[in-house]
Every structure is written in structure tokens, then in C-alpha cells.
């Protein structure tokens, strides 16, 4: 296996983590990673150095955008608000964060995960999403405010509706 393929391979675990948080469903997440890898391997000759990590995350982010576009005509999946009292603290937290993520707008979820979970710089995220850094920062701020409100049991968007 050449150096390019080894570098791609080394990124698989982190790509799976990002995809899992992005898509929620483990199978869909691995589908996304698989398509990302296939596309990357196919484009090996087009990759002329640069940041391989950012490039892979860009492919995955775009594939997910396309996937969601193709699903756009289906009714959105609304998570059940099952407040299982038996769930342990960690389990309940996991469930809450998943639910909060699922209610985020796609671009905001992606920014939040890239910065917080994958440890990307604002500059890298701006390149991945193809937007100015200012846009990344406002998306991040909105994502954090929304998730915080969700985790604290508030519904800021609904509260002000009469």
C-alpha cells in the first residue's frame, strides 16, 4: 500500500466518529465513510499534496449534504421525547446530546462537530464548508446556543411564539 493510501487508512476511525455524530445512524454513517473512501481512492491522482485530513472531511461533509438533499422530500424524522427515567446519567446524556444534534441545521451541526469533536481550526472548517471564517463563527455560536438550550430543556424557538 502506498503512502497516500496509508494516510487515508489512518483517518478511517476519526471519519467514522464524525460521520456517526453527523448522521446518527451507524449504517448510514459507515455508508458515508465508504463513499468518502471510494471517492478519495478514485481521486488519488488528483490529490496534489495539501491537507489530506481536511480533504477527506470535505468529501464526507459534501456527500452528507447531497444525501440530505435527496432525502429532503421525505418527512423529517422527529426524535421521540421518551424521558426514560431508568436510564443512567451517562445514557441519558448521550441520548440528549444526540437529540440536540439532530435538531440542528445541517451546516451548524457540521461546524460544531468539526470544531468540538474533531478539533479543527476555524480556518480549516471555513475551507471545508467553503465559507468565510465569520460564517463559521456565527454558525458555531448558533449551534452552541441551540444545543445548550436543548440540553437545559428549553425551547427558545418556541417560547416566544404566542
Amino acid at each position: 500500500m502506498n503512502a497516500f493510501r496509508q494516510s487515508v487508512e489512518a483517518m478511517i476511525p476519526a471519519l467514522r466518529r464524525y460521520a456517526r455524530a453527523l448522521a446518527r445512524d451507524a449504517d448510514i454513517a459507515d455508508d458515508l465513510v465508504q463513499d468518502t473512501l471510494v471517492r478519495a481512492l478514485r481521486s488519488e491522482r488528483l490529490f496534489l499534496g495539501g491537507d489530506l485530513r481536511s480533504w477527506l472531511y470535505t468529501i464526507l461533509t459534501n456527500l452528507n449534504k447531497n444525501r440530505r438533499r435527496s432525502l429532503a422530500r421525505r418527512p423529517p424524522l422527529v426524535p421521540l421525547l421518551d424521558n426514560n427515567a431508568d436510564a443512567s446519567g451517562t445514557e441519558a446524556e448521550s441520548r440528549d446530546i444526540e437529540r440536540a444534534l439532530s435538531t440542528l441545521v445541517e451546516e451548524q451541526r457540521s461546524v460544531l462537530l468539526l470544531v468540538v469533536l474533531e478539533g479543527m481550526s476555524y480556518r480549516e472548517v471555513a475551507d471545508i464548508q467553503g465559507v468565510p471564517i465569520g460564517t463559521v463563527m456565527s454558525r458555531l455560536a448558533r449551534a452552541r446556543a441551540h444545543v445548550r438550550a436543548m440540553l437545559e430543556g428549553e425551547r427558545p424557538a418556541l417560547r416566544r411564539v404566542k
Binding site: 467514522r16 466518529r17 459507515d30 463513499d35 435527496s70 446524556e93
Partner: protein, 254 residues
């Protein structure tokens, strides 16, 4: 505690948490947080959010990478996304030569060969990559598997004994015109073969070989049942396996 001269912005609070803040501004932000409990609480909540995200998703990094994501495998066998279904349909049409086949009569028309073979290959590709749930009934319950598939499919489903191959098990699938039985076998080095059978209104045929990507398939029909044996693209080995299946079906009376 001194109030910084320039007020701290929301962007700076985020940059502070994300280590994107210029070093010379850090002390200012820390002083600001000490004087503004609301902002300090927000910063704290963002840090907890990060911990929760890591607690939820970091375990994915330690999971074994599924076989279907192995680089070696992907280079050989690209996954076909939604386009795959369309491409497969087109391929069947083009290979069938379009309308020309319709005039050739119902007996084992290539379109039946094509549609069975494509269905079988799709099932083959879908399930051979499965590590944990390749089958519904494991090969260790051979008798139960045969009885169940026979009852559901309506003909005598036998899982043949194949030299050098172990029965992984089987499952029931929707076929072109009713239920289809699907049996999976595995060799010593992990190579997998599948036998797909479904009812087919066709005359007995000779074996027809097709290859799609890195998978090969052999189709034949006998006594109203169509068989497709799928495996890798080693045609000699596939023919050998298919021949063994054919011989045992003959013996058992189909």
C-alpha cells in the same frame, strides 16, 4: 480584578474555548469572565458540551473498522450508491439488446437470466460483506433451515454439501416472482459463495456465466426453479462449485 479596556465579544468567548484566541488577549478574557458570571456560565456550558460529545462519540474511534471499509477491499469493489441501481438496470437493458429480446419467446429469455442474475448478485454483494449478520438461520441448524425455506418457497430447498466449503447459513429474500432462498458458503480463506434460487417460468437451460465488477455468477434453470451461484471472479472455481450444486440438486430430485 481589572475590567479590560476593550469589551470581550461573543466571538472571542468562542475563540477562547476553542484555543483560537491570540495569546495576548487571553488574560483579558479571563478577567472578563471573572467579572461576568453569565458569560462564565456559558463558557462552562460549552466546555461541558464538548465533554458530552466526546463521551458519546469517542468510542467509535476504538471500534474495529468494518470489513467493508478496508482500503484493499474498496479498491477492488467500489460501493454503488443509488446510481448503482440505475446503472444495473441500464446494464441489464443494454446487455439484453433492448426490445429485440421480447420477440424471442418466453423460454429462458435472456431477460429472465439477466433479472435473476442481477437480483442474485445484488443479494450476494449485499450479504457477503456482512460479518455479524450474513444470514438469518446459521448453518449449524441445517435441518431447520431446509425445512423453513422449503415451506416458505414451495419447492424442496436443499443445502448441498460442498467440498472445501462450510455452510454459513441462509435467509429468505423477495425474488422476482415470489420468495427466494439464499444460502451462503464460506471457504478456508474466507471466500464466500452464495446460492440464490427462486421459481422461474422457464425451460431448463444450460449454465450462463455473467460477471459484474469483481463478482461472477452462473445461472441455470431446472424444473421451474432458477439457480444462481455467485462468487468471486475466478470462473474456474465458480464453475466447479456450481457444478457440485447442480449435481446434488439432480440427485435429490430438485
Amino acid at each position: 480584578m481589572t475590567e479590560p479596556n476593550i469589551p470581550v465579544t461573543e466571538d472571542e468567548l468562542h475563540a477562547y474555548v476553542d484555543n483560537e484566541l491570540p495569546a495576548e488577549r487571553r488574560a483579558d478574557v479571563e478577567a472578563w469572565l471573572a467579572a461576568h458570571p453569565d458569560d462564565a456560565a456559558r463558557v462552562q456550558s460549552w466546555r461541558e458540551m464538548a465533554d458530552t460529545l466526546h463521551a458519546r462519540y469517542d468510542s467509535v474511534v476504538d471500534e474495529a473498522v468494518p470489513k467493508r471499509l478496508e482500503i484493499e477491499r474498496l479498491q477492488r469493489q467500489p460501493r454503488r450508491w443509488v446510481y448503482g441501481a440505475v446503472a444495473a438496470t441500464l446494464m441489464a437493458f443494454v446487455a439484453g439488446g433492448g426490445a429485440g429480446w421480447i420477440a424471442r419467446g418466453a423460454a429462458a429469455t435472456p431477460s429472465i437470466v439477466q433479472s435473476f442474475t442481477l437480483d442474485a448478485l445484488d443479494a450476494h454483494r449485499l450479504y457477503v460483506v456482512e460479518v455479524r449478520h450474513p444470514v438469518e438461520v446459521p448453518g449449524s441448524e441445517r435441518d431447520h433451515l431446509q425445512q423453513w425455506l422449503t415451506r416458505r418457497c414451495g419447492w424442496d430447498v436443499r443445502a448441498p454439501e460442498l467440498a472445501g466449503l462450510k455452510l454459513v447459513g441462509g435467509r429468505l429474500l423477495p425474488g422476482p416472482s415470489g420468495p427466494a432462498s439464499f444460502l451462503m458458503y464460506e471457504g478456508a480463506s474466507g471466500e464466500r459463495f452464495t446460492i440464490y434460487t427462486a421459481k422461474a417460468k422457464t425451460e431448463p437451460t444450460q449454465m450462463r456465466y455473467s460477471v459484474k465488477g469483481s463478482d461472477g455468477a452462473l445461472f441455470w434453470a431446472d424444473r421451474g426453479v432458477a439457480y444462481v451461484v455467485s462468487g468471486g471472479n475466478d470462473r474456474g472455481r465458480l464453475t466447479q462449485v456450481a457444478q457440485a450444486v447442480y449435481d446434488q440438486m439432480e440427485k435429490s430430485g430438485g
